[in-house]
Symmetry: C2
Subunit: 349 residues, 2 copies
């Protein structure tokens, strides 16, 4: 009896140890596509556990996937700070993250996916100040672009300094362009796909390092549901000439039914290519092509998976006593993997 008791005690102690100490405890702020993706990604990583979800909506209206995990009002977030190792911010880059990331980096190790490329330096500065003051680690702009694509631009450029890199996006759904279509008068709903121009891709892959205009790099394809009696010719005209969004591209507009849109265009696929061609040799006599590509069924779920890997890095960096804002450029690959240095060298190097 005593022996069984000891064994039982050990099993329980192990479970408690694992739950309390070994698992990285994650909090999610914002439960849209990205928040749900983070929740799914945590389930795939044995060293992580979801502590709670925080939302601006009434918590009782938010139904999450993880059994036994609570949803709280955002106002309660700070009071849970001791239960969260890394807080993942799943808001939007336009309005949420510029406020939230600096605010919460003062209290939590945080990871965000801020993706307004032009405003990254400004965001970095604000977050860095807050994180340093709070003694926390913040990793911003995680995902695939910015994120994995950025890393590939950096590695390729460092290895082939005499070269040129190109980034192509798609085929995939652009949320911003889809929203723009939906704002056109007479449009009930719509989806926009960004598609790389095949001839441009080929030229880049052939190391021709072409000068490409915006129009030569991508085409835009729109699937639009028009209201009954709407002027389709005018809708098409309005979309194709929309400044910034469509006027610099070759755009095709297809009118379909709501049923077709729901059936054929309800996914959020995306992807793209980072390609760099460069020369080596005493007189640049040899050419090399580095290509990185992604083909994604779900843009938010893949982005979430990248974010969650960087949450592991944030936890480890914080454990080492590091502070301040980091980007994917500042983080050694090993921090992302659950494997130890020994395992990585033996299995993946």
């Amino acid at each position: 009896m005593e022996k069984a008791g000891v064994i039982c005690y050990n099993v329980v102690a192990n479970l408690v140890w694992e739950a309390l100490f070994l698992s990285i405890r994650i909090g999610i702020l914002g439960y849209g596509n990205l928040g749900r993706g983070v929740e799914c990604a945590i389930k795939q990583n044995n060293d992580m556990v979801l502590t709670a979800v925080f939302t601006r909506r009434p918590p009782e209206t938010v139904s999450i996937l993880s059994e036994g995990v609570k949803v709280y009002k955002v106002e309660e977030l700070i009071s849970h700070k001791d239960e969260i190792d890394v807080l993942i911010l799943c808001g939007g880059s336009a309005k949420d993250l510029p406020v939230q990331t600096p605010e919460y980096a003062a209290h939590f190790n945080v990871v965000d996916s801020f993706d307004t490329h032009a405003k990254i330096p400004e965001h970095f500065a604000a977050v860095d100040g807050a994180a340093k003051k709070g003694g926390k680690v913040a990793i911003i702009s995680c995902g695939w672009d910015p994120g994995l694509f950025s890393i590939n631009r950096l590695y390729a450029g460092a290895v082939l300094p005499e070269g040129k890199d190109y980034t192509f996006w798609g085929k995939g759904v652009s949320q911003g362009h889809s929203d723009a279509i939906r704002r056109v008068e007479g449009v009930l709903d719509g989806k926009q796909y960004t598609i790389p121009v095949e001839a441009a891709l080929e030229s880049v892959r052939n190391a021709e390092n072409p000068d490409l205009t915006t129009r030569q790099k991508h085409i835009r394809e729109c699937f639009v549901v028009a209201a009954e009696g709407a002027d389709k010719a005018k809708i098409e005209e309005t979309i194709k000439n929309m400044p910034h969004y469509f006027d610099e591209y070759d755009t095709t507009v297809h009118f379909i039914t709501m049923e077709e849109l729901k059936r054929d265009h309800s996914g959020i696929p995306h992807g793209g290519f980072v390609i760099r061609a460069g020369k080596t040799g005493w007189n640049g006599e040899n050419t090399h092509v580095i290509e990185y590509s992604l083909k994604l069924d779900s843009n938010p779920e893949f982005t979430s998976s990248v974010i969650v890997a960087y949450a592991r890095a944030a936890y480890r960096l914080a454990s080492e006593g590091q502070k301040g804002c980091k980007t994917v450029f500042d983080i050694a690959p090993a921090y992302l993997s659950p494997m130890s240095g020994e395992e990585l060298r033996a299995k993946l190097l």
Copy 2:
């Protein structure tokens, strides 16, 4: 006159400053294809300068490309330690590096391209001990595999834990297999190309995560120059059944003339693919494919270019006071680029 003197003094002072302090001073040990590639890569990187080349051959028999740079006997290497920030070891993995890297890591920051995957843990331990004792930074196994391919296996695995990765090599020249051909009786010369099986690549790209045998992944194509009167049927038979090298593969053997070999097969191209497909979502409902590929005109020159980027990292890590052995997994991408953190965030993120 005085003013002109001051300007002139400043110009000279700047040049001296740049040459002495800002440029990373590189030494090369071993001047074969890899050493020459490193020399060419240094020329492409403005923040680096080649200090000297060290060789086991009589220095007067070694003619290098860089004007005004000296070639010394390897025995003189240690006496030049104060003129070298990073020593790049360009020997072979079979016999040179297991001895040289630990030996010189005690005196220099070093980078090598040790590529015997199975022996990396052992090599790491030996180099780590020496580098820590000497207070130096050593980066081992730089190149593309091990190297950039390893990094991509790590990132892809960390982001898509529920998936499987595949590495394909080629189309490219395998030095080891070409050497094996040349040892066959009746063979004057020969080149072997490793080629991925197209159907396997397609299956992997389609996220089918197939189980592939050695034979199903790569084919081997040999171009052989036979001696006059040699038994070609026997040569072909011997090659195709050679244990470890060819017996597990579908191999084709083409007999060509020495002239054809020199004309059509004198390059050292290589390349390959790292592909990982994985699933995300609460029930694995979405699939993603990450693909990284290289198409290289010159295997040694590209490898050298990777090594030189890591020499920059070794220099910076040493400047921060770090010590010991590192691999590409341990080094944040930013260390490889000549750009500052600010520039990287503004331009590449």
